[in-house]
Symmetry: D2
Subunit: 167 residues, 4 copies
Amino acid sequence: MLLSKPFIVGVMGGANASDKDLDTAFHLGGLIASQGWILLNGGRNCGIMHASAKGAMEKGGITIGILPDEDEIQVSEYISIPILTGMGNARNCINILSSHYIVAFPGGAGTLSEIALSIKSKKPLILLNYTRRDLFDEYVDEGLLLFADTPDQVIEIISDHIKKKRL
Amino acid sequence: MLLSKPFIVGVMGGANASDKDLDTAFHLGGLIASQGWILLNGGRNCGIMHASAKGAMEKGGITIGILPDEDEIQVSEYISIPILTGMGNARNCINILSSHYIVAFPGGAGTLSEIALSIKSKKPLILLNYTRRDLFDEYVDEGLLLFADTPDQVIEIISDHIKKKRL
Amino acid sequence: MLLSKPFIVGVMGGANASDKDLDTAFHLGGLIASQGWILLNGGRNCGIMHASAKGAMEKGGITIGILPDEDEIQVSEYISIPILTGMGNARNCINILSSHYIVAFPGGAGTLSEIALSIKSKKPLILLNYTRRDLFDEYVDEGLLLFADTPDQVIEIISDHIKKKRL
Amino acid sequence: MLLSKPFIVGVMGGANASDKDLDTAFHLGGLIASQGWILLNGGRNCGIMHASAKGAMEKGGITIGILPDEDEIQVSEYISIPILTGMGNARNCINILSSHYIVAFPGGAGTLSEIALSIKSKKPLILLNYTRRDLFDEYVDEGLLLFADTPDQVIEIISDHIKKKRL
């Protein structure tokens, strides 16, 4: 039986990704599941979405995919619960609102829109493996986002965040 | 560990409901969970949403709520996974698209919109405890909806549907 | 130059419609434009959408189409301002919220969802050329909808509504 | 009477803006209207939305506001046609899809999400008065966006774009 209010970590990233980022996403997915957290992403069978869901499901975790599509044709086989929106990119807003914490991998314009929406919604956000930090300086200063270099760092930051909220 | 592709039953119905319908929704929720199916509804802490989620969660089931809101203030405590859309009634479309089978209780205009969207999306649909059948005659004739009087009937109809799809 | 706040009449109805309803929609569109009102509909090049937009544009009116699509491929040539949502049926909510008054022709499940959403949003609503009135009895009693048999009746009812709001 | 297919220019920018940007938005709105183009923006009574709509309406132009709200409480008085979505930030997608050309002023995270969505949708995009160009280098290289320093430059670029599409 699920806890009545599980913690949901949104993992954002490109449909196309480097091998290194795919490996990292797979590893991060596994760590998220091992914490008992739910992994939420865009749900398609490619890129960071597919890799992170695979990592989580192979560790016995629950994975939620918020699909842009109105059918299951492009759903990753590693998504346990596909949510079909039929709303295209408008589903990016749902990804952000439904996650308690966001982790973003390097990605294209879609990922950038999710980072922007995350900041706008004042959700806690970690950028993983990012080099271009200049754009986001003002948001770092406001405490709206952090940077991490490894999945283990991500888990540590989120665990600290949860502990502080409980105190 | 979840099956990789669980069966999702959407339960629609009013924020205000009769005691009889609330009891029936609670009972139906439990039966859905006992089948190993996931229950999906509108997620708020009132009416058919709350009662059906309570029934499912008390039997150890997973419950998904597709909320119209952008925060968790009105989420039922019996929703294990709240999906926050921030889209008002537009979330009704997501309820329908994301369910493999829909059950509708008597309700107000919101429920009627979900019945209509279900028919439009050609999703299998059962109306439970309905008396006003005249409006839907043409859709009954097209095989797009069925009527049931008890939760047990609902489970039997959906189980048959799943068996036929597997053959 | 447009008035700063023009009155917007939403005309809902099926992608498939009888010749009689298409003629009526064309005539109604012309009358709406002649009043200086803006016509809003679902924007596609078929059925009541196309016919009502044609009637309005030929009388010099402005026509707004709220499309389910993310491109202009299926836009009616009689829509002066296409709004592309890329959101499928979720755009039905926008049709209703953006109209100051709704007129619904007989239609399929999509139109029924718009009638339901209109009632839910407590927008003033006229059903034109409808015979199945039984479903809606309770909403008629609550003053949430009216019936009309001709476009002229529709215009008269809406004109009265505007006058009363100005008093 | 409107042309059957008017050209729609989306103007994006912050709810809070510098005096210089507000002046420029007002001036740009007037130039857009003078070209016979329709101005589309987020529709609220503040920032770049309000200033650009005012500029356009005072030159006799039509202004469309795609509101995040489900009512007209925060609509700018200079919006001639308010489209009420009730969908929060998800309406940003509609802003982009419905515009034939996008101009973005400096803004916050909401504007950044619109720039990202514009790039993702491959819509032609001009950034006006921007200094932080580093983030967007790859998209500049792909020809997906341009920079301008004045409203007159914007009009010139869009006019050239329209001419080329007609050839």
